[in-house]
Symmetry: C3
Subunit: 268 residues, 3 copies
């Protein structure tokens, strides 16, 4: 039955132009981004800059895997909404794979931001753990079909984890970034990330999975896809362009340059 569903879902997606275009657009853009980023990174030599570049390159790579899984129907399924939901009793197409792959791709974004801000390891660890928990509880919110209230309980828990992430990105990391001399580019990327990431819970709330004010699966999917384009490919492009041009600033301090830093006193 699950496999029949995979082929059925694949057919359903293929027949829905609005929905399938929202997925294929991202596959195409992720593919182009990968080629562009490999090209942009050809002259990055400094170890810490390479780490930022590597983490950034994984963003579109995970994204193209995610959207291919969605378009194939592998990580999409029909779920029956519980009593209380606007579409109660109806079978709604749920793209649950999005939440699963966000648990892989969003830590890369935070890792890139944290390395840029030269955040300490403790802060980075806590933020990434909260971010993964945010995605996993978002997955739970999408998959609960036994109780409408519990869907929103998970939505609330997921938002609580989001607040932890926001606190670090908005309050803690700007200080580190200023100290590391990366304040300007960090400010740009932070603004992009915070504004776009706020869009995801809003789409969930008004889309088919939440209040269903927007009842179209295709429109909801395009909402997520547009946010992904900004928060992933545009984000990564701006970051990589800056890293390629400022390898000396990136090299300044932190995680991967310990050997050199340690060696310094000996040379004196």
């Amino acid at each position: 039955m699950l496999q029949a569903t995979q082929s059925e879902v694949f057919q359903e997606i293929t027949n829905d132009l609005l929905l399938s275009s929202s997925l294929w657009a991202n596959i195409a853009l992720a593919g182009l981004s990968i080629l562009l980023f490999v090209y942009m990174g050809r002259n990055v030599e400094e170890p810490r800059a390479k780490l930022v570049w590597g983490a950034t390159l994984l963003i579109p790579l995970v994204s193209i895997s995610s959207y291919t899984a969605l378009v194939s129907g592998l990580t999409v399924g029909f779920i029956e909404m519980p009593a209380g939901h606007a579409l109660a009793g109806e079978e709604v197409l749920s793209q649950w794979g999005r939440y699963l792959t966000w648990a892989l791709s969003t830590p890369m974004i935070l890792l890139a931001l944290g390395l840029l801000a030269d955040a300490d390891l403790g802060s980075l660890f806590t933020v990434v753990a909260a971010d993964i928990a945010m995605c996993v509880t978002g997955l739970a919110a999408a998959l609960v079909t036994s109780s409408y209230a519990l869907r929103w309980v998970f939505y609330g828990i997921s938002c609580a984890f989001f607040v932890v992430v926001l606190y670090a990105v908005l309050v803690e990391w700007p200080r580190s970034a200023a100290a590391a001399g990366t304040g300007e580019i960090f400010g740009t990327l932070r603004a992009l990330t915070v504004v776009l990431w706020l869009g995801y819970p809003i789409i969930w709330a008004v889309g088919v999975e939440g209040l269903a004010l927007v009842e179209s699966v295709g429109l909801t999917s395009w909402g997520y896809s547009l946010l992904d384009i900004g928060a992933k490919y545009v984000f990564a492009f701006l970051l990589l362009r800056w890293v390629a041009a400022n390898q000396d600033v990136v090299a300044g301090s932190g995680l991967t340059t310990e050997t050199e830093s340690r060696a310094a006193p000996v040379d004196d």
Copy 2:
């Protein structure tokens, strides 16, 4: 069919007062713990102390997510026990989500303990990997329905991973803790952890999933829930209270204070 099961399971849990109270009690206590811990951490400023605090705060956050998933029926299911099991052929309610979320929450406990003991990165990595493997093989032990013998084979493998964890916590880390000046609090938390963690395989063995000497799903669930209360919220409370009062000791050495330590020789 899987979704029918989710609603059916949700109904089954709701109707079983003993079972549902074992879950809701933990949701309430985890929620209170989160509020209390955020309040207790308000004055923690030292980076390494903040890392311990962050890892500790994630323990009740993962726990509340875990229990909400259990109560909703999302991570619970009926499994048919294989020939040889005391309840062979019967459908038994399996809370398989517990094992999955332990794979997320128990590393946080070990991370907090390891940071407290100032364990080296190699030891910490090996213990966390063994701990995750212990939980995943425990999940396999719970889900195997094709052979009674293989359920116990997985139980044995899981216990082998547990021995690796016990070895580090009982033999290796006390030495590091003594050297780091955290021997007393480490000794208290180690005793709490070792005694309570030994309870989990015992409950598995005597509960519905193992020998079924206790045939009540509700009683088995209360067993796990009581252990969780001690091993998670009491553990975290004791640790946080100590960290908040001893930030200077925590700051002494280790992972996150490398920059300062490295800088020291230059100042001489």
Copy 3:
């Protein structure tokens, strides 16, 4: 239905001597390897050598869990191949659990190799992330049943991640290994790893999941099992034998010896 499948699959595997022997052979060898490796590691004391030893020991521990899960039918299932596939419309036994557990065991192999080469943290992180993505997209390739073309798209993406891993292991790490004085053993293990790892995508391509030139599930399984024996147990044995005899070389530099290195200038 899913559980009926687990028992059915268990029965199917038990009745197929070629298939079941390919699994039991690995369970036996993994068990013997664990005992042997624990014995070989009895005198390893140096922290960095212990980290390499710990990561190496987890390889057969994860492997024995993986094969026990396969033999029990827990991580094996029948999938119906899509139109275009040589076995289109037929139910084929898919050992999808292999891909899942490779996502846990292959990072251990790369971690051991990277630590041996004294690779920088940035390189190690990028390679491990690409390796996990390689396994997860391999899993997707195995599970897609809605479209034959998309199976090969995932195969291609998985190979792209593999190229990233190969690049690091063949081009970047040899330089670090030479600098760290571990060039010879690294060269041996690199050759073993690269040659054997190239076998996996070849078996996928010619086996039942790809072109089905080999239509026997048992033969395909033996192909993977033989590769696993070389890439896991032989690899780990060679590595451990070298580490046990060269603890002083391993201690030379890197991740876990920071405390000692930092302390050095003070002693001058």
